[in-house]
């Protein structure tokens, strides 16, 4: 594989995710999306940069904060918005809600709300890849909180001793809900938990899309060549409340200068400016992009609105697969 420096595509991908989530935030108070939502706004570069080097056939796993990963990997937008509305065409037929997004056709295997719980599943998929000699990558996204759960360590150790093609992507947004990383761990360098398991690792600013793109390439190349796990820490920040559509910095749990530092380091605005500077994009083209996406998003919401609710009579199906 060659390094893909298709930054305009990546930018588009990020922009689209941002617009989808802003629309969710805008409409959330209408109470038609009746499930908790954990928005990725501010953290899009990681999803877009990593997915840039994963193929459709590669597998990804995600958490409660899964919208960006789902969209970046090519998950179906209509099915996502329908799922948030609890409608029949949702990816889970309305059974899961926003924390259970998946789209097998796009290689999005599972998103799970219990912190850390999805990590061993991705390792298990990597075991399948090894046993079936599929030559794919299994990638798992998780937060700085998830690495505190014991199961992360059990997963890392197993991936290493079994030589499994799994990419661990830790998105360090410095918080678990309202609790800062430094109250929970002795250091913000989470790669120490890759090193200790003898797993190769990298760390960079997760809001710098060119770094993310380069590091993701390096990691994924390494995995494909060596059939060994790899760990990347991306430092980033969420813009809005942990769960829900609003900003919540009036609660003062995050330092003002930290907030402003990260808000000014917005991956999408920075990249847009760079692309315009480098004459890869014009303001006009950007506006058009936005219009196109808003249209698509509007259609998705219309689709979800018009979609029927699942028939209560179907509630009993699929408990068992006889």
């Amino acid at each position: 594989m060659n390094f893909k420096n298709n930054y305009l595509d990546i930018y588009k991908n990020m922009l689209r995710i941002r617009l989808v989530e802003e629309e969710i935030a805008k409409r959330y108070s209408e109470q038609n999306m009746r499930c908790p939502v954990h928005l990725s706004i501010g953290q899009e570069a990681i999803a877009s940069g990593v997915m840039n080097h994963l193929n459709k056939e590669d597998k990804i796993y995600s958490t409660h904060r899964c919208h960006a990963h789902y969209l970046a990997k090519g998950g179906n937008l209509n099915k996502m918005i329908s799922e948030l509305h609890g409608k029949a065409s949702g990816c889970c037929g309305g059974r899961g809600g926003s924390m259970h997004l998946f789209d097998e056709e796009a290689g999005i295997m599972s998103s799970l709300p219990i912190v850390g719980s999805v990590i061993p599943l991705a390792v298990g998929n990597a075991l399948t890849i090894k046993l079936k000699k599929e030559r794919l990558v299994s990638a798992v996204f998780f937060g700085d909180g998830a690495i505190e759960e014991g199961v992360y360590h059990e997963s890392a150790n197993f991936a290493k001793i079994q030589s499994l093609p799994v990419l661990f992507i830790c998105e360090n947004n410095l918080f678990s809900v309202y609790t800062p990383l430094n109250e929970r761990q002795p250091s913000a360098d989470l790669t120490r938990h890759a090193k200790s398991h003898d797993i190769k690792y990298l760390r960079c600013d997760g809001n710098d899309i060119s770094k993310v793109n380069e590091f993701a390439f390096e990691a994924i190349e390494y995995i494909r060549k060596n059939n060994q796990p790899f760990f990347i820490q991306f430092d980033t920040y969420r813009h809005r409340e942990h769960c829900g559509p609003n900003f919540d910095d009036e609660l003062d749990y995050r330092k003002k200068n930290e907030v402003s530092f990260w808000f000014e380091n917005d991956p999408i605005i920075n990249e847009k400016n760079r692309l315009i500077n480098d004459k890869i994009l014009t303001e006009n083209e950007n506006k058009k992009l936005i219009d196109t996406y808003l249209n698509e998003i509007d259609e998705a919401f219309k689709f979800a609105d018009q979609d029927s609710f699942p028939d209560p009579a179907t509630a009993e199906s699929f408990v068992y697969e006889f």
Binding site: P36, R95, G96, G97, Y178
Partner: protein
């Protein structure tokens, strides 16, 4: 001077904790979010301001470890109160709870105690979905050595939490999120009460209804409807699922000769199965009809409100079971259901019934 005020059950729990911590400096609180702005749905409000970070410990994400830390610290002289925002998070710590919390007093032939209280909250509504909504009390109630408490009334919740923190028994204190909103007269001071079992919270003579936690409110509503039609029901709040004290239930059923049991969790292999089996063993010849059980159907909780609608049992189900047992006419049933619908207009299945705000 023990005046009382109308408080929510969550405020009552918060008060109990403040009072227990004030009285006993060995009590400490630990959990993910206990010091944060949301303060575990308000139940740990101001604790950290009053007692400091040494005694109100914000925890990393490590539920299994946390449970072990609390057990070790309980065995060595402290009285930890561990809090999980969802009972599901405690699933990671079942080994610690079953083997170390439940058995240490027994295995050490009484030499060690594990005076630990674990608060766990059953999520419900607003699309919580399959992994944030489970009623897991039968899992814990199966294990000798554990105490399992599920409060329904605000003042009782306060007294039970406060009393559990005074005793030495490893206690699973399971709260239904919708009970948090319920209000009631709550005494200012906290009382050490006997945690000895179920309580008759409404006297009656025609039919006994055993329920606990949130289902108490559905039972009270059903009871009100039944009463309109001259059927008098006795409601027993089970309160303490383990160790199980059947006496108050036996007494009531000896009188009414009928019984409906309501679970917040699954019907199959649920709490009501044990109550039904035990009561039937003891009162087989007095029972007019087999014991009725009400609980969730055999499937996970879907997120969509369309699928959740017929999932959770309500007062209506209780009334239907009462009809089966007491054999009143279809006409009366229809009238009852209509009356219920009037009292409880089209409420969405995914938000708490405002009727149930209390005070109770």
């Amino acid at each position: 001077m023990n005046s009382s005020r109308n408080l929510t059950l969550s405020d009552a729990l918060c008060e109990a904790t403040h009072q227990a911590m004030k009285e006993n400096k060995n009590v400490f609180v630990i959990g993910e979010g206990v010091t944060d702005p949301k303060a575990i749905f308000g139940t740990t409000k101001d604790l950290v301001n009053n007692f400091g970070v040494d005694r109100v410990i914000e925890a990393p994400l490590a539920e299994n470890g946390l449970t072990g830390f609390c057990i070790g610290s309980a065995m060595s002289g402290m009285k930890p109160l561990l809090i999980h925002q969802r009972v599901e998070f405690a699933l990671l710590s079942v080994e610690q709870i079953f083997n170390n919390a439940a058995k240490t007093h027994y295995v050490s032939a009484g030499k060690h105690s594990v005076p630990l209280v674990i608060r766990m909250i059953i999520g419900r509504g607003w699309g919580q979905g399959p992994a944030h909504s489970q009623s897991l009390e039968p899992i814990f109630s199966y294990v000798p050595g554990l105490r399992v408490i599920m409060p329904s009334l605000a003042n009782d919740a306060k007294d039970m939490l406060y009393s559990a923190l005074k005793e030495k028994i490893p206690t699973m204190f399971i709260e239904h999120r919708w009970c948090h909103y319920v209000t009631g007269d709550v005494k200012k001071s906290a009382s050490k009460i006997n945690l000895d079992g179920p309580k008759v919270i409404k006297k009656g003579k025609d039919i006994t209804v055993v329920a606990f936690s949130y289902m108490i409110y559905e039972a009270l509503l059903a009871s009100e409807i039944l009463e309109k039609f001259d059927i008098s029901s006795e409601i027993i709040d089970l309160r303490i699922l383990k160790p199980l004290n059947l006496k108050p239930i036996l007494e009531s059923v000896s009188k009414t000769r009928t019984l409906i049991c309501c679970d917040t969790g699954f019907r199959e292999y649920g709490i009501s199965a044990e109550i039904s089996a035990s009561i039937t063993e003891n009162l087989f010849d007095s029972l007019k009809k087999p014991v009725s059980r009400i609980g969730l159907p055999n499937r996970p909780t879907p997120s969509s409100r369309a699928l959740a609608a017929n999932y959770y049992p309500t007062a209506e189900n209780i009334i239907m079971e009462a009809k089966k047992i007491l054999n009143f006419t279809d006409d009366i049933l229809i009238n009852m259901i209509n009356y219920l619908k009037e009292k409880k207009p089209n409420i969405r299945a995914d938000v708490p019934n405002p009727l149930f705000k209390g005070p109770f």
